[in-house]
Amino acid sequence: MAARIQIPREARRGDVIEVRILIQHPMETGYRHDDVGHLIKRNVIKVLSCRYNGVEVFRADLSSGISANPYVQFYTVAEASGNLEFTWIDDEGERGAERQPIVVKG
């Protein structure tokens, strides 16, 4: 599962930074049928979490009410240089992980 993450490359300590993540995922609702009329099993990303240098700063429980290729934008305070680590898991137990480095000055 691929994901695109956008955060500033650098920030000053204490700045509120915008974090955007877009995950490639069908977010199958479980209400659709395939071409031969069989129900397509639900498969959505259940949990998305973001850790900043190991500390969880954001978590989301998602459902079939979130669009395919879920996009979430949130904010966090730039505390120290390091990584923002994103992890998520879907109904089929498939896990995704992505990390993005950030340099914090001052």
């Binding site: 954001f58 978590r59 989301a60 998602l62 459902s63 669009s67 996009y71 949130f74």
Partner: protein, 146 residues
Amino acid sequence: MKRRDFLAGAAAAFALPGAALAQVDPLEDPLVRALTNGAPVRKGKVTLVLPQLADNGNSVPIRIAVDSPMTAADHVKSIHLYSERNPVPNMANFYLGPRAGRAEINSRVRLAGSQRVTAVAKLSDGSFWYDAAPIVVTLSACLDES
């Protein structure tokens, strides 16, 4: 809270159950009640922004912002999104903390038809606040085959 709102709320609380059912209120939703455990949910602080009309319910931009200083002493703990008509009414829960700096979430949701969407925020002092927005959805998501 205005005195008038308080009195109306108090009157509703003591009214007969039958009379209460006549009102359609997202906060009477059992899911919201389970979240708040019976605590009052006041309107305010939360701003829910949805387009007035969505041509396609499969992807509707949504913005939820909560007026909060986001300090260790006073911050938003979580934001919960509810839909009136989706098969899964609790669309999403977002958990924040003082590290968020700003209590604002942008995302995209699926909506099964024209309805009212409600966002409930839980603050660190244990209070609950909400905002609701109506939306007209031309092509509904989830239940339509597309």
